[in-house]
Symmetry: C3
Subunit: 139 residues, 3 copies
């Protein structure tokens, strides 16, 4: 009842993996699903998966709210050894979830109609992101 | 041990439902309570419930941090079909919790003295918000 | 399988307590660990614990994103009775996690290589922060 998902990213942005989670759950039963991303420069989000502009706008907003370390407004940052996207990635990882919990009933996540599960990659370079999963059986 | 709370909102702001949760739990026993909001344009918060100015100030701050799409600074947003408050609501829903976990002991949530549970409505129009609840029994 | 950690803080900043959690878990076994901070003016974070500049930069960023109530840009805040750092602390507590979940396998948290667990103190004065812990056994 523990598992690990691997999501391959190709730069900053949102990567949906709802269907991978759905597939794994259908062999597991009911309970409480917990997901935790094992990194400090990417986040887990539940967000709208109907209009792709939502993901695009989320990325656009947060890249403005937390500009790269090369931006004049961000000159106070010190953790810049890995590049201008390094520390902003940690900041975004502090502002957005590292863990998510989703009740599961009759083998299905109790998500709303438009809710999808995403890795939000904050780094510019491609990464392999590992998400620890755990299903606590109920009843 | 699964349940759904429905919270009726009348525009952007915080709506406390701690007492509804307390009432439901007292018939359930001990364990781990999980709440998950089934929407991507509202959040769940644990916040101070002593001074109502805290909720007012939270609303005032986040409406400035994420202005409506009609604001000149937000012209880059594309997901605006449902109105100027649509995409800012998704952004706030990414920044604030979609799920909460509260340990329960002797039938009571282990909240701090001033902690209350809220739906933070990010849309301008009234909505009915659904919160999935799940109590995992302990011991 | 319930516990409470007490973390003593000496002003705004990040305070790691990963080793305290590790020590407690090794006597408990496997399952799902939940941590919840019992306050509304401090947060729980999972963040990088390799380079201390990450914690310093997080503190520097959020103190700029949410300036004290004495800042001209923040004159609209009303909840200021306890001082200029009071309401900004609540705002930061809304933006960063109040609860965390970490799957535990073979008695060890499934954290990534560089992940540590922190209390992020948002108030200027020293505080004693209480973190409720709960381990749900698995299998």
């Amino acid at each position: 009842m523990q598992h690990e998902f691997t999501i391959t990213t190709s730069g900053a942005g949102l990567y949906e993996f709802t269907s991978e989670v759905t597939r794994w759950l259908c062999t597991q039963g009911d309970g409480l699903l917990t997901l935790m991303i094992r990194h400090t420069s990417a986040s887990l989000l539940i967000q709208e998966n109907a209009d792709p502009d939502v993901c695009r706008d989320l990325q656009a907003y947060f890249s403005r709210l937390v500009p790269p370390a090369s931006d004049p407004a961000m000159q106070y940052l010190r953790h810049t050894a890995e590049g201008p996207d390094d520390m902003p990635a940690h900041i975004k990882a502090a502002m957005m979830p590292v863990s998510l919990n989703i009740p599961v009933k009759d083998g299905r996540m109790r998500l709303g109609t438009w809710q999808g599960i995403y890795v939000f990659e904050h780094r510019s370079a491609p990464h392999r992101r590992h998400v620890a999963a755990c299903l606590m059986p109920l009843g």
